[in-house]
Symmetry: C2
Subunit: 182 residues, 2 copies
DNA sequence: ACCCTACCTTCCTGTGTTGACATGTCACTT
DNA sequence: AAGTGACATGTCAACACAGGAAGGTAGGGT
């Protein structure tokens, strides 16, 4: 349950309300660990029960401003440094590739072409974000930049791979049945 | 719910029982879309209810051999060719990186070093699998090889990134406080 | 005959995730 | 005074995922 740690991480920077956190999730963490409102408020409640966060202040419309507690900070640091990252990567894309041999090569290539396009779009999104951060002087330290760099590399690699794979299929199906005029 | 399509994809190759499918998941799909036994049997039941698969034969110990139906095949092909791949990638690793600035740079580097190690191990696993497939003459077509190639590239990239990131932190913290003797 | 192992399925509990719906308040405009 | 939009939280149903307990059958070896 990484949502818990995402919330702790954000609260360690600044105290915030559920609503604030939701906004941050939407703009900033959406590409890394999406979360919905219902999940978020529920988790905040649980964090408060566990005394990892406290309600520091109550505001206008029932607003509750949460702040991280010492116990919460300890938990966050523990997670950041001592908990093994999970290795499993569930990939929709790879699963499809695994079965792609069951449709004809024309369709398979079409799928990979689409995948390359999507990756290219993702790449642009990351580039825009990088630019935004570079200009906007966000409070992002080196570490924010590391995340961005990862997004850039990943989307670029995925695109290259999809294009390569498409060519690979073309080559191998070409030997069986030359493209010819259709 | 891609588990559904994973099952359809496997059944499109050969009819199989839940038990058979479970074995296949353990050895072959574990790196792509892990699933547990409870999930698997439940989903098979639902697939049968929806008539996307049929019980083709009943064997010795209550064994039920499932086969894909025409409707199932249609659904599979639809998913393979017409359903948009999901873009969101939940990454434990990236989430950590996002907050890594909250621990001192020594610890941050240690984490990235560990991440590079893990990626290297993953890479070896993929290499071993590639070798195994190349020798074993599995029924893997070009498409199986594409998956393997992706695993290789991805793990290599992740490792390179982690090493680069570690260097990046070293460089930036070095300017603040030179490494010195400790 | 006996036991062990592999085979095979069902059920249960708990947590994570999503989407939709419900409810209400404050600030600002018209 | 009424309306609108941003602020803010809570709850529900449904599905996805993980782990494990429980139970039963068939075949092979001793």
């Amino acid at each position: 349950m990484s949502l818990r740690h995402a919330l702790l991480g954000l609260l360690a920077r600044n105290p915030a309300s559920g609503y604030d956190l939701l906004k941050i999730f939407e703009i900033s963490l959406a590409n890394v660990w999406p979360a919905t409102q219902s999940q978020l408020y529920a988790e905040l409640g649980r964090l408060a029960d566990a005394e990892l966060v406290t309600v520091a202040a109550e505001g206008p419309r029932g607003r509750k401003e949460y702040a991280i507690s010492d116990a919460g900070l300890a938990e966050l640091h523990h997670w950041l440094t001592a908990v093994e990252p999970r290795k499993i990567v569930r990939s929709d894309m790879l699963l499809r590739v695994f079965f792609l041999g069951q449709v004809d090569s024309e369709q398979a290539r079409a799928y990979l072409r689409r995948q390359a396009e999507i990756s290219a779009e993702e790449h642009e999104k990351w580039e825009a974000l990088t630019e935004f951060v570079a200009e906007g002087e966000d409070d992002l330290s080196v570490f924010g930049l590391l995340s961005l760099e990862w997004g850039l590399r990943f989307s670029a690699m995925q695109r290259e791979w999809a294009e390569w794979a498409e060519g690979e299929i073309e080559r191998s199906s070409g030997t069986d049945a030359p493209p010819a005029a259709r």
